[in-house]
């Protein structure tokens, strides 16, 4: 995945420390998606992915920062969102991305589902934390 954080408009950021922050993050992403002119279906998919990743960051990563920005690439416009936490990290990313796998009592569909909902998906994780980056492109 390209380093979109370096391109495009400077990101808007929001720190997530409780569940109402997740709602705020969702609203931030929705606003950007609307401004970018994403179709209703794409908006909904992106916002839902952001909801999953924001909540993962809160529940599994102990909170973190969401950054979102509009990005351009080869004539198309999209929305880039980054979720960075300083939590324990994901020991086995492959496993975490398996449908139905959860270390808690969730459905285990958040991470894998979010990947299916967006166009680009990158994940880095280590003992110092986890960063997930996603992009949803407009037409």
């Amino acid at each position: 995945m390209r380093d979109y954080a370096a391109t495009g408009a400077p990101p808007e950021s929001l720190s997530v420390g409780n569940s109402s922050d997740v709602v705020m993050a969702r609203q931030l992403v929705r606003t950007l998606a609307q401004r970018t002119g994403l179709s209703l279906v794409h908006q909904t998919k992106l916002v839902t992915a952001a909801s999953e990743l924001g909540r993962n960051m809160l529940i599994h990563g102990g909170g973190g920062i969401v950054r979102a920005a509009t990005v351009d690439d080869a004539g198309r416009t999209g929305v880039y969102v980054e979720f960075e936490d300083r939590g324990p990290g994901i020991a086995d990313i492959e496993l975490a991305l398996t449908d139905g796998w959860t270390s808690g009592d969730g459905m285990g569909l958040g991470l894998s589902g979010a990947r299916r909902l967006v166009d680009e998906f990158g994940i880095e994780s280590g003992p110092d934390g986890t960063t997930v980056r996603i992009v949803k492109w407009g037409r």
Binding site: R26, Q43, K45, R55, D99, M107, L109, R116
Partner: protein, 284 residues
Amino acid sequence: MPVATDSNTQRLVETLTARRDVFVGQWADTVGEALQGRLSAAELGRELGELYEAVLQGLASGGLSGRGEAFGEVRSLLIELSRNRARQGFTPTETARSVFALKEVLEPSLTGDAEGARVYLQLARLLDDLGLLTAEAYVRTREEIISSQAEQLLELSTPVVKLWDGVVGVPLVGTLDSARTQVVMEKLLQTLVDSDSTHAIIDITGVPTVDTQVAQHLLKTVLAARMMGAQCTISGIRPQIAQTIVALGIEFGDVPTIASLSDALRQAVKEVAQEADDDVRGLL
């Protein structure tokens, strides 16, 4: 903190006792003026009179520390006062001033000589402490009021209505978090019982995002309704939500999902009629 000597409190107690009526009267006037008649003079007089008496008792039993044992009665009166003020919509400043005003009243009478000034300072410290206590109690009450309002709002925003004979509807609006789900579930089950209904329709037209958490909560609600023997349908799944749910990988299993609330209602009404028919047939 300097420990109050007996002579300190003695002088105070004497002065406060001797001029009780004058001081209470002035105190009530000062406070009444600040509250601009929003509290009746009689009520204020009674309230502050009681408080004055309790402060006097506290001082007499040898204390100048507001958090000490001698001032237990004062503290409970103050908490009561703050709670009332908070409920009546007075500001925290107005509330704390009810206590601080006593300083203004006593200052001219006590600070005539050096000994009196020293006593006054100690009393002032006590009253400052009691003023803070008032503010704390005020804030606590406001918090209670706010959280109970939030609860009421939650209740109001999750209406459960009887749509038809035997059919209950739950039009959800907004986010479905754990607290909300709990309220919805309890209200749904209660309404099912109260209205003797066998069908429930949960409408999610007003839910902007259906993610794994919302889905899990929906399924939990459906399960609860089923355990009461009710049939449950989820309606109001807009096309973009349907596509998103599929991509996420969420399956509602054997829970029927119907696009519009009216279709879901039509279906439920038909089933209720069918059941009634079956019941009659069973009796024959």
